[in-house]
Symmetry: C2
Subunit: 215 residues, 2 copies
């Protein structure tokens, strides 16, 4: 047993992926325990009372919630920074992270669950839920295209938690067979393609593809 930190959670979760991308960007080595939340043990529930993944563990210290984990990683390994130095850009980065972790996951989660997870667990897809998720995406993409403007990153000059959170949700959309139309959202589509081509994202995306059924 080494003293590497442990990340609990399966890789295709957008929240687990956020942490894996941050760990890769910061060059932190870790063990991963592929916990599925609905098959979680009592031991896992003691760490994560909301039965959610991921949980980050260093010995007796356990921490649920991807946003809290990313903030913690920034404190223990500040380089490279994943939070903007400027106070306003920093705050906007947190807001975009929250937008991804609530609104985007609501829309994309419904599509991903019913197209991909349903296939794995042998459940009939809820086509109405898929349609509702798809119907909500254009307004979200309009918003992100507008916020991005002509910038490379969402908040400040560097790749940040904002970009990790938004781009992570878009990986699940890609797994579910949907992409961002580059004719309708040219800035946002190019931004997502750029982020998914970063080594930190590319590595986990390739690995996840081997674990998921084709759609």
């Amino acid at each position: 047993m080494s003293d590497k930190p442990i990340l609990h959670g399966v890789s295709p979760s957008p929240f687990v992926r956020k942490v894996r991308v941050a760990l890769a960007e910061k060059g932190i080595a870790y063990h991963q325990v592929p916990v599925m939340p609905f098959a979680a043990s009592e031991e896992f529930l003691a760490m994560s009372p909301l039965r959610k993944i991921p949980v980050y563990q260093e010995g007796d210290f356990t921490l649920p919630d991807s946003s809290a984990i990313l903030a913690y990683l920034e404190r223990v390994q500040p380089k490279p920074p994943l939070y903007p130095a400027d106070a306003r850009q920093f705050a906007r980065a947190l807001w975009y992270e929250e937008y991804a972790d609530t609104k985007l996951v609501e829309l994309i989660g419904a599509i991903f669950f019913n197209r991909v997870v349903a296939k794995i667990i042998g459940q009939a897809p809820d086509e109405a839920a898929i349609a509702k998720g798809l119907a909500g995406l254009p307004a979200a993409f309009d918003y992100l295209e507008r916020e991005l403007g002509d910038r490379e990153m969402l908040a400040g000059p560097h790749f940040s938690v904002a970009d990790i959170a938004v781009s992570s949700m878009l990986v699940n959309l890609a797994h579910a067979g949907e992409t961002v139309d580059p004719n309708r959202w040219p800035g946002f589509a190019a931004y997502i393609a750029r982020n998914h081509a970063r080594p930190s994202f590319k590595q986990t995306i390739e690995e996840e593809k081997t674990q998921l059924p084709a759609v």
Copy 2:
């Protein structure tokens, strides 16, 4: 028109209260615009695409989401600190904030809405929703009693965002006529009473009582 920051949102919102308490603790003067989210203007929606309160504004700079706003206030006015200095306590504070803002609001929001808001808007209360919220509280209080242990504050030696978020949700429970049983949860009940007696909480609680119907 002064150059004070503007806080958009009505005071009985647990998320608006989080920001008001932080502003009071840090001694930051502000204007408040009592926006009700469901009667929000187009101008408000441009600042808050999820139609949520609060929004914090300094001229052209606008910021939705109470957690992002608290993190921003810490950057622009670091004293007194509302985030623990220690990395692990800091991260746990963010987790407790998330727990309050998701799990506690789910349970307490249902009770507050159907006992208090329903009365204001002349809607019949959903008694099943109230019962479901009440049924979920003991497990949440057990968790918080256990996490608190024999400490004064949830995360680290000082009053922090963890205490603000948890105690803010408990104000809505009190408005809805429910309190924490001190016989069953002695530590947590005393903790909530202590926090609600702080000037930052006491001032907003007294003001809110004049705005809400008796239950």
